[in-house]
């Protein structure tokens, strides 16, 4: 009678331990297969295996939690700078307008991305938009070139648009981000690339959970003249009498360069903020997943442990009863 009851218990355990976790463990090459068959044909994972797995998942959880804190503190540092730099770029838009629809021959797309990974999907969205702009602006007379800032965009764009890349700049974040650095960078770009319109693609930081990919357009002075004459939004430019220098063209040239470096500065800061924010939320969901995994593994561990205790008991009792009777 007792034996039958114990046998029934054993069968119940067999159904609880589903075969799936066992195969998962077997397929991972790191864990040795320490399986043994119990008296009822049960297959147990050894508790050792489950414990190892739990340890590594716990480590992952700790690491991702730490990365989230680091990203949060870096975000706080950059956020104030970004908000201050936003004010500078708006007067330019008010005066010279931001015309994404300007039809020009030579487009240059400046893609801003991060150097390090683990930051969610922001780099892929930037690259997607850059590719979209490229497609939109390639035609019989028009051409589009890329200027890439950051490793991640470089990795993605080098694969299929290698011939269109003019300039690649990486490891921006190693030097502290201030205006002088970025203006030197902007200078480099302006010197080496001929352009009619520069389109800067970056992720604007709206809040800690929302990053909007945006395109800012900076037009070269000749195009600004052309658009101003044709009226429309830039028509107001002519109403301003331009002083301070020999010719109006010279002033507009300086203005365009200044505008470019200010917009670049703002774009780089916003992208850095978005990167830290995205990393925060990616690491957060990562540690939460690790927590869930840990819970499931703990349940499996306890079940395995109880099953092995039951098997031992069965062996002992059946051995003892065999001796008796």
């Amino acid at each position: 009678m007792a034996m039958a009851a114990l046998r029934r218990e054993g069968r119940r355990f067999a159904s609880l331990i589903s075969p799936r976790p066992i195969t998962a463990v077997r397929s991972s090459p790191l864990y040795p297969t320490l399986e043994d068959e119990g008296p009822l044909g049960l297959r147990h994972i050894s508790t050792q295996v489950v414990r190892n797995r739990m340890k590594s998942v716990k480590n992952i959880q700790k690491i991702t939690k730490a990365m989230k804190m680091v990203a949060a503190s870096k975000l706080r540092a950059i956020q104030t700078k970004t908000e201050n730099s936003r004010g500078l770029w708006q007067p330019f838009t008010a005066l010279l307008g931001d015309l994404p629809s300007a039809d020009v021959k030579k487009n240059v797309v400046v893609t801003i991305s991060s150097d390090k990974g683990l930051c969610g999907g922001i780099n892929s969205t930037s690259v997607k938009i850059s590719k979209g702009l490229h497609k939109l602006n390639s035609g019989p007379e028009k051409e589009t070139k890329y200027v890439i800032l950051g490793e991640k965009a470089k990795a993605q764009l080098v694969r299929d648009s290698k011939k269109d890349i003019e300039l690649i700049i990486t490891e921006l974040q190693k030097n502290p981000l201030n205006y002088t650095q970025v203006s030197v960078l902007a200078d480099e770009i302006l010197k080496n690339v001929e352009y009619d319109a520069l389109r800067i693609v970056f992720n604007k930081f709206q809040s800690v959970v929302s990053f909007v990919p945006t395109v800012s357009t900076v037009l070269s002075p000749e195009i600004v003249e052309r658009e101003a004459e044709s009226g429309g939004k830039l028509g107001d430019l002519d109403s301003y009498e331009v002083e301070g220098g020999e010719t109006k063209g010279e002033i507009l040239q300086n203005l365009a360069e200044f505008q470019f470096s200010c917009t670049m500065f703002n774009a780089v800061l916003e992208n850095a903020c978005s990167e830290q924010g995205a990393r925060m939320s990616a690491m957060d969901s990562s540690s939460r997943n690790a927590g869930d995994m840990l819970d499931r593994l703990t349940l499996t561990y306890n079940r395995t442990r109880q099953a092995s205790i039951t098997t031992e008991l069965i062996e002992i009792i059946s051995g003892a009863s065999a001796l008796e009777g």
């Binding site: 201050n84 004010g87 500078l88 007067p91 301003y240 331009v242 220098g245 300086n254 203005l255 200044f258």
Partner: protein, 133 residues
């Protein structure tokens, strides 16, 4: 009738409020702006910006940029600035002397130009302090 003045740099907003009158130095000389000025867009030279509000003059040292004036709204975009009250007089004086010495030592066109720029900056800062007092 007052003017709305905003002075912006890439790092922060230096000034954003109403004033009665400003004196700005551009490439073609100093201009004074009163309410209802004609709209102009101009380049700002390295010099001092004087602001008058309530019969009191304030000075800010500007290091190059652009200004747009129109509809009683003045927007000045500068690479770098310092408020007159923030500058230490002795330090500015020392900087001026160092800049003058550098200019005398400078050889070659590029060094001369850099030294001249540094000199103008130092002079502007000293002027900013003097103008207040």
């Amino acid at each position: 009738m007052t003017l709305n003045l905003s002075v912006l740099t890439p790092n922060r907003i230096v000034w954003d409020s109403e004033v009665k009158e400003i004196i700005l130095s551009t490439n073609s000389g100093k201009i004074s702006v009163l309410p209802n000025h004609a709209p102009i867009a101009t380049a700002v030279d390295i010099g001092i910006l004087r602001i008058r509000l309530n019969d009191q003059w304030l000075t800010i040292a500007l290091i190059g940029g652009f200004a747009r004036i129109g509809n009683n709204e003045i927007t000045i975009l500068i690479n770098d600035t310092e408020k007159g009250s923030d500058i230490d007089p002795q330090e500015a004086q020392q900087a001026l002397e160092i800049a003058e010495a550098n200019l005398r030592k400078a050889e070659g066109k590029r060094q001369k130009i850099e030294a001249k720029l540094a000199l103008r900056r130092a002079r502007t800062r000293v002027e900013a302090i003097n103008a207040i007092s």
